[in-house]
C-alpha cells in the first residue's frame, strides 16, 4: 500500500525538486558579510516559523512542515500531503561611519514536501539553502605607474544548498526521533574584475558532501496544555572541495590552478521548548554552533562558537472562524544570532523582530504564510558595516488530501 503511493508521488517530488533546483542554484543574498567562509547562514526555519523569529526546534509539524527538527514530521496531519515553497525578499541599508548605501534582493528559497506514511512514520523531502553568497563591491585600485585609479569589482555568488530526505519515527506515544539525510552541494564563486579593463580573476570552489542531522521531540500533556521539548544535533563534517582559479581577458580564459582543500561545517546542537493550547503555541530556541575549531585562511577574521536565541508565538485571530479551515493566524517573534565570525575582533551579531500571518486560501486547504522581518546585522565600529534590513518571507503551503482520496478509491 505504501510503495505505490510513494512511487506515484516520487515523480512529482522529483519534478518539483528539479524545477526548484534550477532557480535555487542561482540563489543569492546581498550582503558584504557574505564574502567570508561559506557565506551567510540561512537557518532551517520555514513557513510559520519565519513569523516567529525563526523559532521551531520544539514545534511539531502540523499544517506546515517544520524542517528545523526532523523529529517534528511525526506531527504532520495524517491525511495531508504538504508542499512548501518559500520566497524571500529583502531591502537592506548598509551603514558605515562615513556612508550609507542600499540594495534589494529577492529569491526563491526552498521547495519541500512532507507527509505521514503510517501512524509511526512520517517523511519530508526537499531542497533548501544552507548558506548563500551575494555581493558586488566596487573598490578603487591604483593603476601603478600612473596617478590614476580604476574600479575593481569584487563579486561573489553561490552558496551551499542541500537536498534532503528525512524521516520521523514515533517510538513512544509522546516521543519522536528523526533523521535527515542531506546531500550538501554548491559553489563558492569569488571574482575580481574590471569593466574598464575587461578582465576577471575568478576563483570557484565546488563543495559537496553528505550530511546527517538528528532530532528528538518529547511531548508532555498537562490538562489542556501541551509542553514540547525539542533537541537537534548534527556533527561537524568536512565538505569535499574542488577549486579552480581562472583568469579571463579578451584573449581568452586560462586556468591558473586547480586544487582541493578542506572546508568544514561545525557541529551544531540546539534545544527548544514549546507550549501550546488549542491553536495557540509559543516557543523558545537555543542553538549553538562550534565554529571555533574551524579555520579559514583569511587574515581579517577569526571564528568563534556562536549561539542563537529566539522566541516566537502564534495565535488565531479571534472570531467565528477559529477552529475552522478559514482560521487566520497571527505570529510574532524575535531572534538574536551571534556571528561565528569576528572581523578584526569585532562580532557582527544580528537581531531581528518578526511579524507574521497565516492566511487560508479561499476554498482550499492551502495557506499563505507571510512574515515581515526587521533586522540588523553588524556594527559600524572599527570601520565595519551595519546592515539594517526589512525582509519579507512568502511561503505557499499547498496541502492536499491525496491519501484520503486513495482510500476511497
Amino acid at each position: 500500500m505504501i510503495m505505490p503511493r510513494l512511487l506515484k508521488n516520487s515523480a512529482l517530488i522529483l519534478s518539483l525538486l528539479l524545477s526548484g533546483a534550477g532557480t535555487l542554484l542561482a540563489q543569492s543574498t546581498s550582503s558584504p558579510y557574505s564574502i567570508f567562509g561559506i557565506g551567510i547562514l540561512e537557518g532551517n526555519s520555514i513557513g510559520p516559523s519565519k513569523g516567529m523569529g525563526g523559532t521551531g526546534i520544539a514545534f511539531l509539524s502540523d499544517m506546515s512542515v517544520n524542517s528545523m527538527n526532523p523529529a517534528s514530521y511525526s506531527g504532520i496531519d495524517s491525511l495531508l500531503t504538504i508542499f512548501e515553497v518559500g520566497i524571500f525578499g529583502k531591502y537592506s541599508s548598509f551603514t558605515t561611519l562615513q556612508d550609507k548605501q542600499s540594495d534589494v534582493n529577492a529569491n526563491l528559497k526552498y521547495v519541500l514536501m512532507g507527509f505521514r506514511v503510517n501512524p509511526r512514520l512520517a517523511t519530508s523531502f526537499g531542497f533548501m539553502p544552507v548558506s548563500s553568497i551575494g555581493y558586488n563591491i566596487n573598490a578603487k585600485a591604483p593603476i601603478e605607474g600612473t596617478n590614476q585609479q580604476y574600479i575593481e569589482t569584487y563579486s561573489g555568488t553561490g552558496g551551499v544548498n542541500q537536498i534532503y530526505g528525512g524521516a520521523s519515527f514515533k517510538i513512544l506515544k509522546n516521543l519522536s526521533l528523526g533523521v535527515n539525510a542531506a546531500y550538501l552541494f554548491g559553489n563558492i564563486t569569488r571574482m575580481e574584475s574590471s569593466a574598464a579593463f575587461d578582465y576577471s580573476y575568478k576563483d570557484v570552489t565546488y563543495v559537496a558532501n553528505f550530511d546527517f542531522n538528528y532530532g528528538l521531540n518529547y511531548q508532555l500533556k498537562i490538562k489542556k496544555w501541551k509542553y514540547n521539548l525539542g533537541i537537534i544535533y548534527s556533527r561537524s563534517k568536512d565538505l569535499r572541495t574542488k577549486n579552480t582559479t581562472t583568469i579571463t581577458t579578451p584573449t581568452g580564459t586560462q586556468t591558473l590552478k586547480e586544487y582541493t582543500y578542506d572546508y568544514s561545517i561545525p557541529q551544531n546542537l540546539g534545544a527548544g521548548i514549546a507550549v501550546s493550547k488549542g491553536f495557540f503555541r509559543a516557543g523558545i530556541d537555543f542553538e549553538r554552533s562550534d565554529w571555533q575549531n574551524i579555520e579559514f585562511t583569511n587574515v581579517y577574521f577569526q571564528t568563534r562558537n556562536s549561539n542563537r536565541y529566539s522566541f516566537g508565538a502564534e495565535f488565531p485571530l479571534p472570531g467565528d472562524r477559529k477552529g475552522t479551515g478559514k482560521m487566520i493566524f497571527l505570529r510574532f517573534g524575535g531572534e538574536y544570532r551571534q556571528s561565528y565570525l569576528l572581523v578584526d575582533n569585532v562580532a557582527i551579531d544580528g537581531g531581528t523582530l518578526t511579524l507574521g500571518t497565516g492566511l487560508p486560501l479561499k476554498g482550499t486547504l492551502n495557506a499563505i504564510n507571510v512574515a515581515l522581518e526587521f533586522g540588523k546585522i553588524g556594527t559600524t565600529k572599527r570601520g565595519l558595516i551595519r546592515e539594517d534590513y526589512i525582509g519579507i518571507h512568502l511561503d505557499m503551503s499547498l496541502r492536499d488530501l491525496w491519501f484520503r482520496k486513495r482510500m476511497y478509491d
Binding site: 593603476i143 579578451p250 587574515v299 492566511l359
Partner: protein, 449 residues
C-alpha cells in the same frame, strides 16, 4: 471535497480580514522595492575585506625606434582630384604637383557658318583641398602633351610622367579660395579654343573619330606656373567638373551666346605627378640610403606625407623583455604619437590616422583592424587653447597580444602610422612626429597575478 465548509460567512470573512492584513504588507513591500537603491556599480562597502589578487600597472618604458620610409611609388590615378602648384619648406622640402588628364571624344554638332568664336577656357572647380599658404598668389600653366596618356596595367603613379610641349597654351594667376567648393577657376586657352572651334565648324577630319581626336589632342598637364607659388590646390576631376568650354555667338542683330563643352576623358588617364626635392632637409640623403632613414639621422623626426610617399616606421626593440615575466596579461596596449610642437600651424593635422603593419622590406602591408573589423584609427586629442597634449592614441592591444602569443616578438615586424588609403594617394597631408621629445610611447596596461 476541497470546497467543504465553504459558506457565505467564510467568503465574507476571508475577503475582509485578509485584505485588511494584506494591504499594509503589500504597501510596505512596495515601498521597499520601489525606493531607490544604491546603483550596483557604486556599491563599495566591504572593500577593506579584500586583498586584491591582481596588480595593474602601466609600463611605458619600452623603447620605440622610429625611422622614415620613402615608398617607391603611389597610385595617383582615378582619384577624381586634379592637383597643381608647388610649395617648399625647410623640413619637408619642396613639392611640385602637376595634373595630367585628357579630353573625351564626342560627336560634335554642326556649327552655323555665321557663328563667331569668342573665347575658350578650362573650367576648374575647387574640390576643397589645399596644401600650403593659400593667401599667396598662385600661377598655373597648362601645356599640351606630345604623347598619349597610357596607364600601366590600368594605373598611373605619382612618379609617372608623359612628354609635353614647353609651350604654355594658357595661364591663370589667382588667389585661391579652396573653401569655395564648386566655384570655378577659368584657365583661358584662346588659341587652342579657336583652333578647335574652326575644326568643329569645318568638320575637320581630326574630329571624325576618337583615334584621330586623341592624336590631335593627346592630353594636358596643368603645372605650377611660378617658382614663387606657395600652395597646391585641388580641383574636382570628373567629366562634370573638369572641362574645356568654347564660347561663341551667332552673327545676328541680337547675338545669341553659345558654348561647346568638352569634358575630361577617361578616369584612369587622370593622375597627379609629384616632383619632390629633399635637398637641405633632414631627409637629404634618403634616396641614397635606400629610401629609409632612422630618426637619429633626421633630427629625431619621423615624416608622414601623402603623395610624396613618406611614412614613419615604428619598431619595438625591447618588447620581448616582457616575456621574461611570469603570470601576466596585457589588457591594453596604446601607442601614443605626439606631433612636433608648432609643426602644424599651416598644415592641418590629419583628423584620422590609420596604422599598417610592415616588415623587413618596409612594405606597407595590411591595415590594422579594430575589434569590429573596421580600420583601426587613432583618436586625436587636442587642446585648442594651449596646444598642449596634442596627440594621437592607437589601441594596438590586439596587435601586441597576437605578436606575443607565440612567446616571441619579431623586431622586424613593425607598424607604420599612415593616412587613409585615399588621402595617401590624393593629398599632401603631412605629419611630423618626434622621437626624442615628446617621445613616442608604447603604453602597456599590464596585469600580473
Amino acid at each position: 471535497m476541497k470546497g467543504n465548509g465553504e459558506g457565505k460567512e467564510g467568503k465574507q470573512i476571508f475577503s475582509f480580514t485578509s485584505v485588511f492584513l494584506l494591504i499594509p504588507i503589500i504597501f510596505v513591500t512596495g515601498l521597499i522595492f520601489i525606493s531607490s537603491c544604491t546603483k550596483k556599480y557604486e556599491f563599495n562597502m566591504g572593500q577593506d575585506f579584500f586583498d586584491s589578487q591582481t596588480r595593474l600597472q602601466v609600463i611605458d618604458t619600452f623603447s620605440v625606434n622610429l625611422s622614415t620610409v620613402l615608398l617607391d611609388s603611389l597610385k595617383t590615378s582615378s582619384t577624381k582630384i586634379a592637383l597643381a602648384g608647388n610649395y617648399r619648406d625647410d623640413i619637408f622640402g619642396s613639392v611640385n604637383v602637376g595634373a595630367y588628364f585628357d579630353l573625351g571624344y564626342q560627336d560634335f554638332e554642326d556649327i552655323e557658318d555665321k557663328a563667331i568664336y569668342d573665347s575658350a577656357a578650362f573650367s576648374l572647380r575647387y574640390n576643397g583641398y589645399s596644401y600650403g599658404d593659400t593667401t599667396s598668389l598662385l600661377k598655373l600653366d597648362i601645356h599640351m602633351l606630345t604623347e598619349n596618356i597610357e596607364p600601366y596595367s590600368g594605373y598611373l603613379y605619382n612618379t609617372s610622367s608623359f612628354d609635353y610641349s614647353p609651350e604654355v597654351i594658357g595661364s591663370v594667376s589667382f588667389y585661391p579660395a579652396p573653401e569655395s567648393v564648386d566655384t570655378a577657376v577659368y584657365l583661358p586657352v584662346n588659341a587652342l579654343g579657336e583652333d578647335l572651334f574652326n575644326k568643329i565648324r569645318d568638320n575637320d577630319e581630326n574630329l571624325s573619330n576618337s583615334e584621330l581626336f586623341s592624336d590631335y589632342l593627346k592630353g594636358f598637364i596643368i603645372t605650377s606656373g611660378s617658382p614663387d607659388n606657395k600652395s597646391v590646390i585641388g580641383f574636382t576631376a570628373d567629366d562634370d567638373n573638369l572641362k574645356l568650354i568654347i564660347y561663341y555667338h551667332q552673327d545676328a542683330e541680337e547675338p545669341e551666346l553659345k558654348e561647346i563643352t568638352i569634358s575630361m576623358g577617361q578616369e584612369n588617364h587622370q593622375f597627379n605627378s609629384v616632383k619632390f626635392d629633399h635637398t637641405n632637409t633632414p631627409l637629404n640623403d634618403i634616396r641614397t640610403e635606400g629610401n629609409v632613414m632612422p630618426s637619429t639621422r633626421t633630427d629625431n623626426y619621423g615624416f608622414l606625407q601623402g603623395m610624396v610617399g613618406l611614412i614613419p616606421k615604428l619598431q619595438f626593440p625591447t618588447l620581448q623583455e616582457i616575456l621574461a615575466v611570469q603570470r601576466w596579461k596585457i589588457l591594453k596596449a596604446e601607442l601614443v604619437l605626439e606631433p612636433v610642437y608648432e609643426s602644424y600651424d599651416l598644415f592641418r593635422l590629419p583628423e584620422n590616422l590609420y596604422i599598417y603593419d610592415t616588415d623587413r622590406e618596409n612594405r606597407v602591408n595590411t591595415i590594422l583592424l579594430d575589434d569590429k573589423g573596421n580600420p583601426l584609427t587613432a583618436t586625436l586629442a587636442q587642446d585648442d587653447i594651449y596646444e598642449e597634449e596634442v596627440r594621437y592614441t592607437y589601441d594596438i592591444t590586439k596587435f601586441i597580444n597576437d605578436e606575443l602569443s607565440d612567446a616571441y616578438f619579431d623586431y622586424d615586424h613593425g607598424l607604420m602610422p599612415g593616412l587613409a588609403d585615399d588621402d595617401f594617394t590624393s593629398s599632401l597631408d603631412r605629419l611630423l612626429i618626434e622621437c626624442k621629445y615628446p617621445p613616442i610611447k608604447l603604453r602597456i596596461y599590464f596585469l600580473t597575478y
